[in-house]
């Protein structure tokens, strides 16, 4: 049980670190945060990282390096979400 929580934490931390490297803003700049389409470190990055990590763990089993890969993908997806889904 502890192993699973450890995996989640690893993917969370790597996604936050990579997102900081990619200069993703911590909080979206447009003021009514609930209507803004900008991705930020607080909102989509951890959720994407945990989701991708859960998928990878479900497909390939509990490995440490999968958590790192999931964190990386989570940060990349949240950084380039506007190009992927179209800027509104």
């Amino acid at each position: 049980m502890v192993n699973i929580i450890l995996l989640y934490l690893i993917s969370l931390i790597t996604s936050i670190v990579v997102a900081l490297l990619l200069k993703v803003p911590i909080l979206p700049k447009k003021k009514p945060i609930r209507f803004s389409f900008e991705t930020s470190i607080v909102f989509p990055t951890p959720i994407l990282a945990l989701g991708i990590e859960a998928i990878l763990r479900n497909l390939f089993g509990n490995y440490i390096y999968l958590a790192f890969i999931a964190g990386l993908f989570g940060a990349l997806l949240s950084k380039y979400a506007d190009k992927l889904f179209g800027e509104v």
Partner: protein, 164 residues
């Protein structure tokens, strides 16, 4: 045995109803229609005597997947795959929100909160009852009676200072 199931179902329905109405109202669904289609439904609900903000709330539920969709899909994935299913559902709901031109806050937060609730209530009420409870909740808002549901939603929106 049947009575126990029905009681669990109703309790899960009330929990789901409270969960997704509060999250949707907090994330500003009744304020303005997210998509052009929600305005039509809002005006139509106002025509038959309901509240405009409640109508925008129901229009936003129809047009873009929000906390109600997140709650339902997270409880489905929790029933099928346990806690990690809820996280996968949150990811897929975020992608679905982005496809429907919606910032995605409501759906994802709804999915995470219902995953937390199911994880806490695990031995007492199973995840299967939350699926049925969510259907009862959405039926009470969209399927049963539109006029009074939108008036109720308008009151809740006003109380949380989201609706004018």
């Amino acid at each position: 045995m049947e009575i126990l199931d029905i009681i669990k179902l109703i309790i899960a329905g009330i929990i789901c109803w409270i969960n997704f109405v509060l999250i949707d109202t907090y994330f500003g669904l009744p304020e303005k229609p997210g998509v052009l289609g929600a305005k039509t439904i809002g005006e139509k609900i106002k025509e038959i005597g309901g509240n405009l903000n409640g109508g925008y709330f129901m229009g936003n539920i129809v047009c873009s997947p929000d906390a109600s969709a997140g709650t339902l899909l997270a409880s489905i994935m929790n029933y099928l795959m346990g806690v990690k299913g809820g996280l996968i559902a949150a990811l897929l709901v975020w992608i679905g929100n982005r496809l429907c031109a919606d910032p995605g806050y409501a759906g994802t937060i709804g999915a995470l909160t219902i995953t937390l609730i199911i994880y806490l209530l695990h031995p007492i009420i199973g995840a299967k009852y939350f699926v049925g409870g969510m259907i009862l909740a959405i039926f009470s808002i969209q399927g049963f009676e539109h006029k009074y549901a939108s008036i109720l939603l308008g009151k809740i929106a006003k109380k949380m200072n989201r609706g004018e």
